[in-house]
Amino acid sequence: MLDQTNVAPIAQIQGLRVEFQTKDGPVVGVENVSFDINPGETVCVVGESGSGKSVSSLSLMRLVEYGGGEIAGGRLLFDRSNGDQIDLAETSTSDMRRIRGNEIGMIFQEPMTALNPVFTVGKQLTEGLRLHKGMSKRAAEARALELMTQVRIPEPERRLKQYPHELSGGMRQRVVIAMALACEPRLLIADEPTTALDVTIQAEILALMDRLKRETGTAVMFITHDMAVVAQMADRVVVMYRGNKVEEGTVQEIFEDPQHGYTKALLAAVPKLGEMTGRQYPEPMKLLGSEDKPIEPIKGTEEVLLEVKNLTTRFPVKGGFFRRTVANVHAVEDLSFTINKGQTLSLVGESGCGKSTAGRSILRLVEPQSGSINLGGKDIMALNQRDLRTARLDMQMIFQDPFASLNPQMQLADQVAEPIYNFGTLKGKAVQERVEMLFDRVELPRSFMRRFPHELSGGQRQRVAIARALALNPKLIIADEAVSALDVSVQAQVLNLMMELQQEMGLSFLFISHDMAVVERVSHYVGVMYLGRIVEWGTRSQVFENPLHSYTQALMKAVPIADPRKRKDEKDLNFKPIPSPIHSTRYVAEPSEYVEVDPGHHLLVTDSGY
């Protein structure tokens, strides 16, 4: 599908310019962007975080206006299904309404806030269907169920009746995807659709979108920072940088013969699975522009910092008219691991397997049912609220959804400085300096210190969250998908920053991620989670080079490779239905038992459900 010149493009963006009014005067979100999208084609838009990807896509939907933006110039030509060509920038709102959701579907970047908290998933999914397709309630529900299955949400029937906050980040993301796909739009805009997903599901979603494209000729505008995904999906690639398009070409051209410096730098920063093979310890990446820095492996110590034993966290499921507890979500089930000082344990696993819950349980942000948590000799489970607060001085968390975890009413500088004020670790001017330093380190311009969360791009928000976690110099950071929303170049820098800090200060990380390449880069140990349990854990090399559990093996196989010539075929992936973590209140979970295959390499022997 490389040669489509004879087909008229479905959408043409010509010289788009978008401005935002902020208190410091107008800010340009997109300066000058032009590219076409042809039917049945996937155009991947890559680029630095904050380069205007989301804004361009929102402009195409004419939704920037509602966020305070204004299309200051350019044309957005769109081919209606009946063959008319219209300029979206000038279309009436009523026409826009018929196009939105029906002819153009959009997947939003941040799934938590993108869903209405008070409606069930089912209601939000069927809404568009009933509107555009005129389906009956029943038909729409059947279709919704089908969509939920397509995006591989476990137990779709029940999920339809759940509220957004009851789903894991990945599930919410998939709901948003399902919503965008619902009406089989002719143009699908996907803004970082798989960022929150683990590789297996990502692979499935990508396959799904690919299939859709092939079968219905849907054009896809795919925004991502993940070059591997680009390689996997794209027909053509548009590279954006600071509000401009800097390069455009077919996927082969971009990967094999990048022209622009930024594209090169981008490709250089992509972590590749297998890069670390043979190395015992993680080490920072070599980055363009800092080649001369010596690369030192990070050894860490063998001293145990955090010891988690038999951690179990369950959520009650309410049902019936009186909303009684009818069952429990066994989000984390008999979880045990240790983290050494100065080392990183990565938790990987499919979406909804309980990674975030595990992380939160350690901080006791959700109260675990049972288990013990020991941080540097302190029994976290035994602490009262006051001591718990001081204990949190040593452990910090970066939340999965950066937007939701930032107070919409507070300036970013204050939010980053807040932990410092809380514990009074610094006083007076030093606070300001520290905040500035943190902004510099996470590569955010200082002028952002006075902005509010909604004025940032997704990746920028994530960096604010990282800066906040670093503010206290904690001993342990639980990084829940901390870098998944970042573009690769920044991701590489942030990863390097984290490793640097680890080297310097002996920080430990519990690194929750789905990006296997990143995990390989940063971890000393890796734990693979499935259905609330760790199915395999050992050193990085043990897990990556010798995966024993069948789930781990499937996971490894699903990792996309940043090379357009090594695309995975849908047939290679074997998808297994995901069992439910929900059990009736009477259910007794069996304990996890492990065998030590190699020294330090543990394998779950009891049934994992996989």
């Binding site: 939907m61 939704l63 509602y66 966020g67 709102t93 309404r97 018929r98 196009i99 939105r100 959701g101 029906n102 579907g105 959009m106 939003f108 941040e110 806030t113 993108a114 869903l115 209405n116 908290p117 008070v118 409606f119 939000q124 809404e127 568009g128 509107l131 555009h132 509220y163 906050h165 009851e166 948003v176 919503m179 965008a180 309410k318 008219f321 009186f322 909303r323 009684r324 937007f403 909604h454």
Partner: protein, 345 residues
């Protein structure tokens, strides 16, 4: 939720007992005398005799105990008897006769059972105050929604202006003003509400309608102002949320976006305001009822207060307290139902 509701219901019994005790104490301590309205020509000894006949001489705990028994034991018996004997709903049940002539809660002013009067007063209060509440809500919600949606439009400004002026002018002014305009100058509407009027046909319905217009409107003005303000505020808070963008991206009509997605979220605080205002319906509207001579519960309470008719005041206040506790419970339950994120356990 069931356990929550049950627990709250059970806990509300001691709460109410405590409230009744506090109200009783307050009324006992407050100055005032049921003899205040007896003319000065009646000599003090006679007044003293009258007081004793009312049971005023007894120590407070005896009075309180008597009231408790009467209210919680004897009155319910009468109510059950009524239900099984004559009521339409349960009249088919075998007739009971639990009540055998014990002393009921007796009003000092009228020397008749308080509950009978309350029941007699219910219809007009419910009609006028209840209807005004309904009208108020029905007007307020669209105003609030539209004002927020067209933030700072002419409509918003005008709506704000009218509602705030309406709210800041007390009913003891608006009431007579309307009367002067519509009853005195124009002669369209009656200035005095006829509580004995019965609606039997279209003509009598029109009469009823005419006499209700003014009191309902005066009261509705207050409700409208209040609820539309809260509504507008809540809508403004929600209109900027991300999920609204999602809803728009689905191609929903603005109407649906606003009326379904935003409204549901914004209704959460407003529903509480509405629920909390409910007891006030049964409590009547003291000033407005008085101005238009609607003579509902509010007027009853006012006259009882002025006459220091403690059993009446006590019983009315306490019924009011029960309603408040009940509606707060309902508000809490609604809250949990409207916002799935809120947990009550």
């Amino acid at each position: 939720m069931l356990t929550f509701t049950l627990r709250r219901l059970i806990l509300s019994i001691p709460t109410l007992l405590f409230i009744s005790f506090i109200i009783f104490g307050l009324l006992q301590l407050a100055p005032g005398d049921p003899m205040a309205q007896v003319p000065l020509t009646v000599p003090p000894e006679v007044k003293q005799k009258m007081r004793e006949a009312l049971g005023l001489g007894a120590p407070w705990y005896v009075q309180y105990y008597k009231w408790l028994i009467q209210f919680f034991w004897i009155e319910p018996k009468i109510f059950i008897d009524y239900l099984t004997n004559t009521s339409f709903l349960l009249g088919w049940l075998p007739d009971t006769s639990f009540y055998n002539g014990e002393l009921r809660v007796i009003s000092w002013q009228t020397r008749s059972p308080v509950m009978d009067i309350v029941i007699q007063r219910m219809p007009q209060t419910l009609w006028v105050v209840g209807l005004s509440y309904l009208v108020g809500i029905v007007i307020a919600i669209p105003i609030g929604i539209y004002s927020a949606y067209r933030h700072y439009s002419v409509f918003d400004q005008a709506g704000t202006f009218v509602t705030m002026v309406g709210f800041s002018i007390p009913p003891f002014f608006t009431g007579p003003l309307l009367i002067v305009i519509f009853s005195v100058y124009l002669g369209w509407l009656p200035s005095i509400y006829d509580t004995t009027h019965v609606v039997t046909d279209w003509e009598s319905f029109k009469v009823q309608f005419y006499q209700m217009i003014m009191p309902v409107m005066v009261l509705a003005l207050q409700t409208t102002a209040q609820i539309s303000r809260y509504m507008r505020g809540a809508m403004l808070d929600n209109l900027n949320q991300d999920y609204v963008r999602t809803a728009r991206a689905k191609g929903l009509r603005e109407g649906v976006v606003v009326m379904v997605h935003v409204l549901r979220n914004s209704m959460i605080p407003v529903v509480t305001v509405i629920a909390l205002g409910m007891p006030a319906i049964f409590g009547g509207a003291i000033i407005t009822e008085n101005v238009f001579k609607v003579n509902g519960i509010g007027q009853l309470l006012l006259t009882a207060l002025f006459a220091n008719d403690l059993p009446m005041v006590m019983t009315l206040t306490f019924i009011f307290a029960i309603l408040i506790v009940l509606f707060n419970l309902i508000a809490d339950i609604l809250y949990g139902l409207l916002d799935p994120r809120i947990r009550y356990d």
